[in-house]
Symmetry: D3
Subunit: 135 residues, 6 copies
């Protein structure tokens, strides 16, 4: 049995790789390379897996909520990712890299009996990214 | 090829485990333990799998609809789960347990050539539960 | 300028008018008259109107949120409307009457400079109810 | 890491198998067999998989968009599938068969380093179809 | 108090005005002028207004549903509007004209005490059309 | 008859009024005052009104789309509002002020026979702002 719990946060970012020239960055990232950045209302789905225990729960919802809010949302919500989040000092804050960072935040903080099996993050209503355990 | 068909039903429930004390129930289930219960507009997705036959269909939509309505929706829609549904006389009607009951209802009534592979149920727009065959 | 802020709550209810016979209630309310009740994930939109002040705001979001949560959500969320909410001891908890009760709760608690102009409440994804000031 | 990108197109179709009699077609496809056809706003999700490269991307979004628009959307959007799309001269344009045709269009045009792993297409808000690689 | 009830239907159409030349039609309607037509999953919202009666209802939901299904949905659902619906023998089935036809269907069949005040129809997730009484 | 057409853009902003002290700004705008800004996927609905002409249209969709894209989207999409948009050099980029700026952009560029009657902008799925003509 899997439980997916949804969270939302709003952040700004700019896509610009230090390894590339300005022309290459512009060509690769298009308007996402605009100098001052832009932002999104990210939708984050965290999926856990395990058998329901005697109380009929895969995970205590309050515990899961607190963990995700403290480990992820408080660090990213209403931030400029490139400037406020240490992980994006060296990595470009694409949503792919953002999914990886969120997975690492969650793994480092994980204390629930249920297994973390998937992190899904939508940047807009047109683009969604998934990290899945064991893939 | 998989086909997922969506259904909706509205039901009331209260989360309260007989094995636990009132204080433990309150601590575990929070406001879901409120004495008179509350309710949800559940969204149910039933997924079947198989090769499209010569008519280009994985399953006859009318047959699938009738099966799910008779085996599931008529038993749960506009009910108070704890009081109206026999399975929840002994089990707490968490959405995890509800997903298991729906899977069992479907398996018992299944007559389609396509395989039942997944049952997904959303309790609110923030929490979704999945049972998947073979997992 | 109008600002609409969205809230959600989950509640149970049963439609049954004391003035009517059981047969009339059944005929009028259909499955909403089932004896033990059922429930919904209500979506509530509160709309306020006024000119943006010097800070560019029609209403301070935090103040509006606190007001709606204390005046409405805490009274209705995770409740059985007929049993837990005094107003529905005498009135049938249709969504029409629920909209009226919410409007009265909001008016009684209102302290914001912006005007309360509309209360919208969706019972399911198919039925939405609106009270509008001056109509 | 998987990236799912969403596209939309509007098309008409009629379900009618040449192998079946008019009575059989009517019984099998119901109102989808109405003689002049009807239509849908299809929602197409294309999922690709691969490791993010040094620029933090699973796939260059502009390249993926161009590929899907040229290989799929331009052929199907604002068309009557039975009359305008060669593949449906011989096959019934069920959404199952449509998913297969789209997968074939994509495979034939595929030039991206990331792997095409899933094609999801929703015909209405109630029915969704999935083709997945290796299943 | 207003109640809005949602319905869905799927239809095909082609935009082509007899008063215009082929070149003018192509220029005006673009790909909506493609010769064989295309289709949509229309979303129809019917809004009625009146005071809740003693039973707490603006309108009996079952009566409203039956009226809309018989007066509108059965005539338009799974049809090719230009070929199957008499009103579009002479008028172009734009969504504007479709809203007018639906309003006329509803007015002709109207038997409810509540007033019909608005007809809203979405052609896609990007374009919505509204007729409002007295405007 | 009204037609509402939907557009989307992604932008960053920071809420900070020059008339206020840092402490006052923090108290008023909360985390929206974070120093480096954050961002949103804004959803913009532009509503026009008029009688359908002989071609059955309230407005030529292509003309409306081009006007909104050139007058609004190109100026705001993938921008940091405070830094890239002249109007927000002096005004705080609240969504209220953003709605006013968009209305002014549209009015200055308006060339359509149909009247511009409403601008609706959602900042997140919880907060929506409306400017309406003549109110």
């Amino acid at each position: 049995m899997q439980l997916t719990s949804r969270f939302r946060f709003s952040a700004a970012h700019r896509l610009d790789a230090v390894e590339l020239t300005p022309v290459q960055n512009r060509e690769l990232y298009g308007k996402c390379n605009n100098p001052h950045g832009h932002g999104h209302d990210y939708v984050l789905d965290v999926t856990v897996e395990g058998p329901p225990d005697v109380s009929g729960l895969v995970a205590r919802r309050a515990a899961l909520d607190t963990l995700v809010r403290e480990a992820v949302i408080q660090k990213l919500d209403h931030r400029f990712l490139n400037k406020d989040v240490a992980e994006f000092a060296s990595a470009v804050p694409t949503t792919e890299n953002l999914a990886t960072v969120i997975r690492d935040y969650l793994k480092a903080a994980w204390t629930l009996p249920a297994k973390l099996v998937r992190v899904t993050i939508a940047e807009t209503d047109r683009n969604t990214f998934v990290w899945e355990a064991g893939k």
